[in-house]
Symmetry: C2
Subunit: 319 residues, 2 copies
């Protein structure tokens, strides 16, 4: 079977104009984690399915994911992604808008290439469209929360569920649909994806503050700079004494001027309140829930090892 990079190159061959397709090629051929393709492949492998069909679905989700990155990086004014310049930074915003649009459309086009029962393609397309729309909703909530004064932990979890977790869930559910699994299995895998996705995003929030920069590939402290009310921030607010609470709220209420000072002040409060450890405990809760859902899937446990390994990797993420 061709690698996903070879498949992307084939899809992009002879496409013009260059200003539309070069950014797409640039982002698709970066060495990312390919977590979403893995989720599709692991699901299909678990049921001994056809890896070639899985690859098409895997490509569609990886393209969808990269479309969201191109557009999110414009909105978040993010200069770096995977240690490289973001598309809007390397080209410009207009090119980033348009190549993101084209990539989203190409993602849908992939699904129409599937060689299987039309009803299965339609069902996957419905999951795919619903997933895509919820991701947009999640991103909008994320932007709204930057300026909204009171955000609860529940609201935050709802937001990252949409922004990040539904795509994980969509990947495994689409794999299950491709294998014509029953409704219970589809639901268990969907929920597995949701819990794993939430855990993944919380781990991302920890890394934003505590990662080592060269490995992380993104700007450290970006969430703090952008007044993102992450789990770490909201948990810190909950546990803070009045003085710490006042400092945090004031710092996150106005645009960042002195980033170094703000980052250090916030991190010191997080450290004093043991927020890193508390968040890691929360991550473990979600990973336990994910394991529980996976245990409902009626295939031999040995077939699920790839998923369990992925969960273990998530616990020790560096990027």
């Amino acid at each position: 079977m061709n690698t996903i990079e070879q498949e992307f190159q084939a899809v992009l061959a002879d496409k013009h104009p260059a200003n539309l397709y070069d950014p797409i090629s640039y982002i698709l051929l970066q060495s990312g984690k390919r977590l979403r393709p893995k989720l599709v492949h692991y699901t299909v492998e678990m049921f001994d399915g056809d890896p070639e069909q899985a690859q098409i679905v895997a490509m569609a989700f990886e393209m969808l994911h990269n479309f969201t990155l191109i557009h999110d990086d414009i909105m978040d004014v993010a200069p770096l992604r995977r240690g490289k310049e973001t598309v809007y930074k390397k080209w410009n915003s207009n090119i980033a808008i348009l190549s993101g649009d084209a990539l989203a459309i190409m993602a849908f086009q992939q699904l129409l290439r599937l060689k299987c029962d039309n009803q299965i393609i339609m069902d996957i397309a419905k999951v795919f469209a619903q997933t895509s729309l919820e991701i947009c909703e999640g991103q909008q909530y994320d932007l709204d929360f930057e300026t909204q004064r009171n955000v609860t932990i529940d609201e935050y979890i709802m937001m990252i569920r949409k922004k990040t977790a539904v795509m994980f869930a969509g990947c495994v559910k689409s794999g299950a649909i491709l294998m014509n699994s029953d409704d219970n299995t589809r639901q268990a895998l969907y929920d597995f994806g949701i819990y794993m996705g939430i855990a993944f995003q919380l781990a991302d929030d920890v890394l934003d503050v505590y990662a080592s920069s060269p490995v992380f590939g993104k700007t450290i402290g970006g969430d703090i700079r952008d007044n993102k009310k992450t789990y770490l921030y909201l948990k810190a607010l909950e546990d803070a004494d009045p003085q710490q609470r006042k400092t945090l709220e004031e710092l996150f209420a106005v645009p960042t001027t002195d980033f170094e000072l703000k980052y250090k002040t916030v991190r010191d409060i997080y450290d004093a309140l043991d927020i890193k450890k508390k968040t890691e405990e929360k991550i473990q809760c979600y990973l336990d829930l994910a394991r529980e859902e996976m245990s409902k899937v009626k295939v031999d446990e040995s077939k699920k090892q790839a998923f369990y390994d992925l969960i273990d990797q998530l616990t020790n993420r560096q990027k």
Copy 2:
């Protein structure tokens, strides 16, 4: 049958967050020409098909069209559309990017609601995706041509074919697929849409320079301000004497500073060269080609009257 506005309202009911869906509702419920829905409906009516199914396809294309408007208006820094503030102007660029994304996804979702043979839905979805991608390509060529020194009339026609005409063609072809028409009919209708779409865009280019502002609903002279190498400009270059040619080329090589002066200078050259009349003749050529393709469709001529009326209206466009 419900109006398209009622259908849009139903699709948008109970959608959150407001910052994502309010802009979508704002643009979808504006009184536009609804030309693309008309093309779908006229095609299905010509074959005595189900208007309810046609309505779903019509909505999908109207949503796709409005998605492109939301994003194009950011790229073109256009403050006005249909006499109202554009989405990016009324909200902001980030909201316009994201609500445009959501609208494109909702357009695809519409197609999955069709109640007909799955193969027909898949075929329409393929046309829809291909159309969407070509529109992105057309928009990128349009942006590229702003700074490209030499653009030929052929390149310009290729660009507007993608940017504007393929959507007209996609509408009528999708209607034909919905009616399970044979390949010759699909192709004739597709080509009809292409020719009509090119004529429509050329008429738009004329209006950009010669429309009366309150009726037009957009800024007069926007193409001249943005150094858009329209048919009028390229034809003028072709027919110009050396002095006129130099003036045009110099004015379109640098960003606009004194818009009033530039607009007047360019319009005077166009008038001296009779460019309006020459463009109108070109429009008539394309409309003749469109009529010819329509004549190949094997239904009673009386059934095609709506299309012929539309062509006549295009000849006398005010907006």
